[in-house]
Amino acid sequence: MNIEEQKEIKLKANEIRTLAIKMIYNAQSGHPGGSLSASDILSVLYFKVLNVDPKNPEWSKRDRFVMSKGHASAAYYASLALKGYFPINDLFTFRKLGSILQGHPTIHVPGVDMTTGSLGQGFSTAIGMAIAGKLDKADYNIYVLIGDGEMDEGIVWEAMINAPHNNLDNLIAILDRNKYQLDGSTENILPLGDIESKIKAFGWEVQSINGHDIEEIYNAIKISQNKNGKPKMIVANTVKGKGVSFMENTHEFHGKAPNKEQYEKAIKELETEREKILKEGST
C-alpha cells in the first residue's frame, strides 16, 4: 500500500472516530472505548479490503463482515455511512426512538450481515456463513471482528474448535485486543494470557500485529486470504479509546458517553489528529 492510500485510510479512520464520538454524545449513550480501538481495522476493511456494493447490500457474492463485538456499533454504523450504505445524517438518529440504528447492530440496517450484541454469537454465526460459502464453492471471504472481553464467552471456544475441523480458510477473524472490558482490565477480570498460543493450539493460523498500523493491518489480511485449509486469526493489539487521550487505556469509557466538556476536548483532539494526517507526506 502506498503512502497516499495509507493517508486516505487514516483519514477515514479519523472520520469514523469523530462520527462515533458525535453519535454517542448525541445519543448520550453507547460505547466509545471499543469503537475507538476498532476504527483503524474498520477503515482498512471498508476502504481497502471488503468486496461489497453499498448500492446492492445483499449482493450474493459480496464479502461478509460480522461485527461480533456489536457494542462498537457507533464505529460500525459510521463506517457503513461513510461507505455509502445510508446518509451520514442518519447516524444522528443512533439509539433514538424510531431509528433504524438500534443500540446494537441488526440485519435491518443496509450493509449489516448479522445482528449482534450478545457476545460470542457473531463469531459463531460467521462460522455458519463460512460453511455456506464452502458449500456454494463461493469466492467471497467472511470477516469477523471480535473483542478480547468477548473471548470470555463459552460459545467463542465452541466455534474456535469447530472452524479448523471444517477447513474454513474463507474465514478471517480479527481480535480487537484492547485489553479492557466493562469492569476493568481483561488481565484482572479473566486473564486471556498467551492468547496467540491458545488460538494456534486450536488449529488456527495466527498473526499478531499493531492494530493501529494501517499497513500492518492490511498486510496481515492479505496473508490471511491464503487458501490453505485453515481459518485465520489476526490478533490486533490495540489501545482502548485510541485517539482521545482521556479515553485511552481505561475501562471508564467502555459504555459511557462523554459530557459536554469531554466531548469538546475529544473532538478537538481528533481535529488535531486530522490536521496531522493531512500534513503527512506533503513536504
Partner: protein, 305 residues
C-alpha cells in the same frame, strides 16, 4: 405404534435432494435420526459435536446465506442451553431455521429429569417470529416437516422419544389450525403432541358413562387456533387441556387466556404440576404424573358436576 423421530429422519431424507437444505446435529444424530439424512447427504450434514450454542449460531449463519436449516438435538439441550442464541440470532433476525427437538417431555423415560424438557412450549412461544408445533404422531410429523421446510422463517417442532399410536394418517396439517378429532356436546378435551391417544381413549370411556366429549388436537401452539377453542368453549361450556408439559405456559395456559378473554367456559388443566420428572418407563411416568386416561375421566366428572 410409530416413532416420530424416525418419521423426522425419513422425511429429511425424502426432501434432502434440495441443495438448499442443510442439517445440523449435536452428537445425537443417531437418536434424533438426522443421521438418515447425514448418511446420504454427507456434504450438507454437520455433526457439530456436543455444542448446542455453536450449533444454533452456525444455523443462523447458514440461514443468513440462503440455506434452509434444520437444527436438532434433545429439547432440553437445544432450547435450554442455546436459548440466548436462538433469541438473538434466529428469532430477532427472523432467519430460516427449523429447530426440531426430539426427546421432549416426561416420555424421555429412564434418563430422568435432567433430560425431560417440560418448559419448552412456554420458552419458545415467548419468542416473536417463532411458530411452535407439537405433532401427535408419526404421519403428522412427516406432514409438518415437509410443510415448514418451505415456509420462510423460524419454527420450533417438539417431538417425543417414545413410539406413539398412529391416529392422523387421514388428516392434513395446516399451520395454526386445530383438528377436531371427535365431535361432542358435553365437554371438550384439547390435547397437544403425543397425548392425543390418551385423550381419545378417555373420550371413548366417557361415552360409556353417557358423556359426549369432543376431542381437539392442537398441533400448533403458536399461532394457536383461538377461533376453534372459543367455539368449543362456548358450545360445550367445559374444557379440559392435556399436555406432556408444565402446567405453566403451555397449552393449558394459552387456552386459559383465550377462555378468560371470551369468558365462556369452565377449565381444568392436565399437565406436569410445578415439579420435575424422574426416571422410569415413559408411559408409566405419564400415568404417575396424572397425564392419563383415568385423570382425564376424573377431571371430566368434576367439571360436569
Amino acid at each position: 405404534m410409530e416413532s416420530q423421530r424416525v418419521a423426522y429422519g425419513e422425511t429429511l431424507l425424502e426432501i434432502g435432494e434440495d441443495e438448499k437444505i442443510v442439517v445440523l446435529d449435536a452428537d445425537l444424530s443417531s437418536s434424533t435420526h438426522t443421521i438418515m439424512f447425514g448418511n446420504k447427504y454427507k456434504e450438507r450434514f454437520f455433526n457439530m459435536g456436543i455444542q448446542e450454542q455453536n450449533e444454533v449460531g452456525v444455523a443462523a449463519g447458514l440461514a443468513r446465506s440462503g440455506k434452509i436449516v434444520f437444527a436438532s438435538s434433545f429439547a432440553v439441550f437445544i432450547v435450554g442451553r442455546a436459548y440466548d442464541i436462538i433469541r438473538q440470532s434466529i428469532a430477532y433476525t427472523n432467519l430460516n431455521v427449523k429447530i426440531v427437538a426430539t426427546h421432549a417431555g416426561l416420555t424421555v423415560g429412564e434418563d430422568g429429569a435432567t433430560h425431560q424438557m417440560l418448559e419448552d412450549i412456554g420458552i419458545m412461544s415467548g419468542l416473536p417470529n417463532f411458530r411452535v408445533i407439537a405433532p401427535a404422531d408419526a404421519p403428522e410429523t412427516r406432514k409438518v416437516i415437509k410443510k415448514i421446510a418451505y415456509m420462510d422463517g423460524p419454527f420450533y417442532v417438539r417431538l417425543s422419544r417414545e413410539k406413539v399410536p398412529t391416529l392422523l394418517n387421514d388428516y392434513e396439517f395446516e399451520l395454526g389450525k386445530g383438528i377436531l378429532f371427535k365431535d361432542g356436546h358435553d365437554l371438550t378435551i384439547i390435547s397437544t403432541g403425543i397425548t392425543l391417544s390418551i385423550a381419545v381413549d378417555a373420550a371413548n370411556d366417557l361415552k360409556a358413562k353417557g358423556i359426549d366429549a369432543a376431542v381437539i388436537h392442537m398441533p400448533t401452539l403458536k399461532p394457536i387456533d383461538s377461533e376453534l377453542v372459543s367455539k368449543y368453549a362456548k358450545n360445550t361450556g367445559k374444557v379440559i387441556t392435556v399436555e406432556e408439559h408444565s402446567i405453566y405456559n403451555g397449552l393449558g395456559s394459552r387456552v386459559a387466556e383465550i377462555i378468560a378473554e371470551h369468558g365462556t367456559a369452565k377449565l381444568k388443566r392436565i399437565g406436569v404440576m410445578d415439579q420435575f420428572g424422574e426416571s422410569g418407563p415413559g408411559w408409566a411416568l405419564l400415568e404417575k404424573y396424572g397425564i392419563s386416561k383415568e385423570n382425564i375421566i376424573k377431571k371430566s366428572m368434576e367439571i360436569i358436576r
